[in-house]
Symmetry: C2
Subunit: 241 residues, 2 copies
Amino acid sequence: MTAEAKYLKVARILQKRIEDGVYKPQTPLPDQKTLAEELHVSRLTVKKALDGLQRKGLVYKESGLGTFVLGPVPIQDKFDSPANAFSGLANLLGSNEVTSDIIEFNVEFPNEDVQHYLKLKSSDPVYNIRRLRRLEGKPLILEHTFMPVNLVPDLNEDILHNSIYNYLHHNLKLKFGVAYRKIKATKADDWDQQYLQAKKDDPILELEQIVWLNNGQPVEYSTSRNRYNERNYVVLETNSF
Amino acid sequence: MTAEAKYLKVARILQKRIEDGVYKPQTPLPDQKTLAEELHVSRLTVKKALDGLQRKGLVYKESGLGTFVLGPVPIQDKFDSPANAFSGLANLLGSNEVTSDIIEFNVEFPNEDVQHYLKLKSSDPVYNIRRLRRLEGKPLILEHTFMPVNLVPDLNEDILHNSIYNYLHHNLKLKFGVAYRKIKATKADDWDQQYLQAKKDDPILELEQIVWLNNGQPVEYSTSRNRYNERNYVVLETNSF
DNA sequence: GAGTGGTCTAGACCACAGA
DNA sequence: CTGTGGTCTAGACCACTCT
């Protein structure tokens, strides 16, 4: 691992100042030149850090005026889950609170859909995993995941009880590249009724996704279902290239 | 308006080459130095263009190896609507196919929620707009929108029958900055049953959002509801700062 | 070692907003 | 006119991957 890039350090410093209220909502940050001098980096490095904070929705910039703190979002609440985050549920909600029941864990040959989604031949085995993710013991999400065995060796029940994400990230050192996620509403099926304790025909919020590694290989096809009104997905969009 | 930035031109050129199949999925683009020489720009300008294409999900980069075309997404289909796009429905689906019935169009004082969402005083009037958006005549989305009157003068039924987005963008020259969007599943209410012809307790996919201008002012609070299985929201996430 | 992308710099010029 | 952010350059060095 390399030492952290300067623009990431600068971004962290500025983010902390925003969170600590050093820079307050709707007020301008010091200008880029001043920040560059204070932090002993070039102006471009400061700009790169601010661009990142803008994409995160922490600041907005007006050319000719300055860079301003955006402030809190009124409709944000604790049930919101970012729909664009490469972090496992355990990392999102705290690993102490999240547990997982393993409902199914098999190795099998992929059906045609899964072959297509994961760019596999019919002879390339995949894991077929169903887990019920619980938050503080309460059923939260019913996950159905397919992953190619050749990319993810030695997956076992111990890992499934904890975080697949951390195993991929920390043990196998895989890096995610892109994820395409589709969010839809459907009716509760038998699985939802059994494991999420949804009532028949209750609305279900489903997230279907394909995740690619940073080398272009698809590593996961999965669906995550949760009961309506229990958990929402959230997207932050910023108007920048 | 200024002449288009070089990195945007470069990005458009490269995007066109990808779409035209000059660069094919899973194959590397020419390296940054070569592209810079060919297009008579600096390497940093090429890199900035490629960064943008990476965030759009067209390419991925592997340090030490090259930049590669990602290729098509298997689960993508025509019902997908990007959950992160500052473009009106008419621009997304084609203005010929999209029509709008005006169900309600009033000016009123905002209730406490709307005051909070749009950062208004109780004496600042807002538009309260309900529209049924149709695609080729078929009911598609039930929209409920609040906008501050002071930011959006002279809104009228003519505009509402077409595109509010285009009025803000082209006539008023407003620029969007950030949008916070929350996607949830709920049950059909009376409005949904009446206008979307949903059945009682059918699942509904709802998008609730606040949109800010690039000067930090909130310009819209709205909910968009559609029947389940008719339209899904899609998010593309890329692993880059 | 060769070739790739990633970062960083100093300096320059431009566009834009406000006084 | 001043001060802000936006763009662009040439050149340098580094980290990473593959041979």
